[in-house]
Subunit: 147 residues, 2 copies
DNA sequence: ATATAACAAAAGTCAAAGATAGTCAAATTA
DNA sequence: TAATTTGACTATCTTTGACTTTTGTTATAT
């Protein structure tokens, strides 16, 4: 544990009680004598989806930051990381969804819904980011389903 | 419950007896030691149509605020009719029908029937009113089915 | 009696102030 | 060079209060 970020990470991990941890960004920053955005840095580098965490937050009075640990089986993780990656075309995505559906990981209804969300026409922008967007959306939905 | 708004929301939810709750805005504000408009804030952020509530009120002497929990079907109807609006293209209509069917709101048979009724070739006229016609017909049929 | 005016008793609106959290890039450090 | 630290600026949610609108009641004039 060398950096402030490492210290904060350890502190958070130590205080994980039951798969979920809630905190105040400003208070935590105060506690460690750092600027609030340092907390964001820790969250975005240490508590990422890829490492099995979902971060949820709210601004304004009574605001908070929640960190949730998610549990998914390794096979599923494999699919997420190796097959989806950081960008994926529509047809490949459909194949994955078909597979998940056949294996009972998602329902037919869910498949339809997800498919609609990642259809090319839904992701058309003036920029060349369709496949990147699709990968992010797809991973996010699947994580939510399995959370 | 971290904010006053959250507390008031919980209080209201806890006091929901039979699908409807009537209250005095000023008395409630007094009870929680907040300004009356705070009640409006809670109502407009926590008891929205989206979340299945309808808020009704009256000013003046004997004024009141009523919160009604609407059943899913009512909510569903509202959303559907709002989405159809005064004109709708064939594909959107089909999406809605697919949705209704998937959600068990209409049968497969009804879907086939309605679809035939609003097909482009069925609504061809020399005027540019295809989408307007379709909306009227669609709403009329659904209205019949639901009432 | 009836219409009207004045007042009182609600609820509504809206914008400012307060309280958090997020973003992004420059500066620093390992 | 890459990761970390910092802070100025932004976005969002909540709280508050002054001002407005609506409704019911009571007094007054006809």
């Amino acid at each position: 544990m060398r950096t402030i970020s490492d210290t904060i990470e350890k502190f958070l991990l130590d205080n994980f009680s039951n798969e979920e941890l809630e905190l105040s960004r400003n208070e935590l920053a105060d506690f460690f004598g750092c600027v609030p955005s340092q907390i964001n840095y820790v969250l975005s580098t240490r508590f990422t989806l890829d490492k099995g965490y979902i971060v949820d937050s709210q601004r304004g009075g009574g605001g908070y930051v929640k960190i949730k640990k998610i549990n998914i089986d390794d096979k599923f993780k494999d699919i997420i990381f190796e097959r989806i990656g950081n960008n994926i075309d529509y047809n490949s995505a459909c194949c994955i969804l078909d597979n998940l559906c056949r294996n009972g990981k998602i329902s037919e209804e869910q498949k339809v819904c997800i498919t609609s969300a990642i259809e090319p026409k839904a992701l058309k922008t003036p920029f060349l980011i369709e496949n990147d967007l699709r990968a992010k959306i797809l991973k996010n939905i699947l994580y939510k389903i399995y959370n």
